[in-house]
């Protein structure tokens, strides 16, 4: 058993080194070559898979978690602070600050969410877990003890 582990430990970096040496592809551009403003429709320029990142698509908000695994693509237009607006710890109290002057954006928390969260929490509590299951939940204890 210990020889198997040893073999694995030796083989793994060798295979990794070989694969690395063979890949030799250029990284995604660190900064998008063209300045992008507002909600971009990526299909206007991209005819390949990047066209799927069309931010104007009505389901882009719900699907962006899949595209975000290619974070380098996001980072060519978005700074880290953009992700942190939703995906980092905040004490979000009313009135919300998120995209207030960009009303056409899809968001989970519009309007009076203190009332609305009782409905969303009943209908699909799993939708809360990614952001509030293990973080950003200090506010919950005011009522949920």
């Amino acid at each position: 058993m210990k020889y198997t582990k040893l073999l694995f430990l030796i083989t793994l970096p060798l295979v990794a080194s070989l694969l690395y040496a063979c890949a030799n592809t250029n990284s995604i551009a660190r900064v998008h070559p063209e300045a992008v403003t507002g909600l971009p429709n990526c299909t206007e320029c991209h005819t390949d898979s990047w066209g799927a990142l069309n931010h104007k698509a009505p389901d882009f908000y719900s699907k962006h978690k899949f595209y975000a695994s290619s974070k380098a693509a996001c980072a060519s237009c978005h700074q880290e602070s953009f992700c942190a607006d939703c995906h980092a710890h905040k004490e979000e109290i009313k009135p919300s600050d998120k995209f207030k002057d960009l009303v056409e954006h899809n968001l989970p928390h519009r309007g009076d969410y203190l009332s609305q969260h009782k409905i969303d929490g009943k209908i699909n509590p799993a939708s809360c877990v990614k952001c509030h299951g293990r973080q950003n939940n200090e506010g919950c204890k005011r009522c949920h003890r």
């Binding site: 690395y20 005819t47 898979s49 009505p58 695994s69 237009c77 799993a126 877990v129 939940n137 919950c140």
Partner: protein, 443 residues
């Protein structure tokens, strides 16, 4: 940094030592860049003043300062070394607004990063947000990824999860986590990923053990399929299946469908709030829900979109619910946007039987941006004596120049919790960049 969050595995190191180590590493990395490297600094300060009253009639006047800073040293070959720091601080001018404290602060992210010129190599060290399959996690630790030959790619991370301390003795948080994801891609057609993570509590016991499959398939320009399945090895059950397909037969027509399955026993296994726990909260561990949804969006003319959507919630224990409706939106880039939507929720309790209306408009006049948003919920039965719950939100922002912007918001609500609620917000945004930054900073 234990201000609001826990990251116990690093507690053995004094904070000053951690800070000094991070600064030394950052300085070394940035100063090691050749003199020819271009260094740019992007920064933003957001000062936010909120005004309102809490449910228990406290006068709340918190002032927040959000500060974000990125310094990037780029090489001519396309590689870059960078430092990213973002955090906030709060001071209450009235009653205590949160956590029973007059002042508070937190580091949202703070990491050094090296991005390679080849193979999308990335190495990050510090507080960061990792998204790799089942691993969607903020952590204090290390992350790396790289593309290999024949379409393979791999990512790995290790560190201390950044979590909120549990509010119940029966709940606990994890202390150490590691995980990774292996992908195979043919850029034109698909990316498939296999991921896994394992985390441990402070006693060394396994806290989370999850494996997952994720797919992004786009064999045609007109077809896009995304999805994932996640398995909980700690409970020996599937936590989640979630798949969505988008079909774009015409530039003006988009059709979507989605399916999801959640097993409450496996999905809500590890949380740090009683609100989402079946151990001490309202979640019924026996429940499973399947959802089926669909949507159609059609643009008869440029800038106008008409849409309809439907979602069915099918529970094992609770009665089923349906949510459906339509919308119309009109937008002229950077000058005007307006929209209207009507939805109906048919559910199993009084709170889940209502009509939902939303009307919004936004108009840009030179450097002035005005928005108005109205959301109304009309319940079939009265909730706390209220049949109609609504919010009107107005905002006005003025952009003095590329660096300086000010915004004022007023929200008015009438709902089952508040008879009349008025809240306000003032926000001052100042950007300090050494060169024009990309659009995608914080909003």
């Amino acid at each position: 940094m234990k201000i609001n969050q826990t990251n116990k595995s690093w507690h053995t190191l004094p904070r000053i030592l951690k800070t000094a180590g991070c600064l030394a590493a950052t300085g070394a990395l940035l100063s090691a860049a050749p003199a020819l490297a271009e260094t740019t600094v992007f920064g933003q300060s957001d000062t936010i003043f909120r005004m309102g009253q809490s449910l228990d009639k406290k006068d709340l006047y918190p002032v927040y300062e959000y500060l974000r800073l990125s310094a990037v040293s780029s090489e001519k070959d396309g590689s870059a070394t960078s430092l990213h720091i973002g955090g906030w601080a709060r001071g209450d001018l009235g009653d205590k607004s949160a956590r029973d404290r007059d002042t508070d602060a937190d580091l949202q992210y703070g990491f050094i990063s090296f991005q390679g010129a080849k193979n999308n190599f990335l190495f990050n060290a510090g507080r960061q947000f990792v998204v790799e399959g089942v691993g969607v996690q903020r952590l204090d630790g290390l992350y790396t990824r790289n593309d290999f030959a024949a379409g393979f790619g791999a990512a790995a991370y290790v560190g201390s999860p950044v979590v909120t301390e549990p509010n119940e003795p029966n709940l606990k948080a994890d202390d150490f986590i590691f995980g990774g994801r292996v992908t195979h891609s043919i850029n034109k057609y698909y990316t498939v990923g296999l991921s896994a993570l394992r985390s441990f509590d402070e006693d060394g016991g396994v806290y989370r053990e999850e494996e997952g499959l994720d797919v992004w398939v786009h064999p045609l320009k007109q077809l896009d399929i995304t999805g994932r399945s996640a398995y909980n090895s700690a409970t020996n059950g599937w936590m989640e299946h979630a798949y969505a397909v988008s079909l774009i037969p015409l530039d003006s027509l988009r059709i979507g469908a989605d399916y999801s399955y959640i097993s409450y026993q496996d999905y809500f296994y590890r949380v740090t709030t009683s609100a989402l726990s079946y151990l001490v909260g309202n979640i019924d561990r026996r429940e499973n829900v399947k959802t089926f949804g669909g949507n159609v969006d059609y643009s008869p003319i440029k800038n106008l979109t008409l849409g309809a959507d439907f979602k069915n919630y099918n529970y094992d224990i609770a009665k089923n619910a349906n949510y459906f409706g339509g919308k119309a939106t009109y937008s002229l880039p950077d000058s005007f946007a307006a929209g209207f939507s009507v939805h109906r929720m048919d559910g199993n309790t009084d709170k889940l039987n209502f009509y939902e209306y939303r009307v919004y408009a936004s108009k840009k006049i030179s450097n002035l941006n005005l928005t108005l948003d109205f959301i109304d919920l009309n319940y079939d039965s009265r909730i706390n004596g209220e049949k109609n719950a609504y919010t009107v939100a107005g905002a006005a922002s003025y952009k003095f120049n590329e660096k300086l912007k000010i915004r004022a918001d007023v929200d008015y609500s009438k709902n089952p919790d508040f008879e009349n609620e008025v809240k306000g917000l003032l926000k001052l945004t100042y950007a300090f960049d050494t060169q024009r930054a990309a659009e995608g900073r914080s909003k």
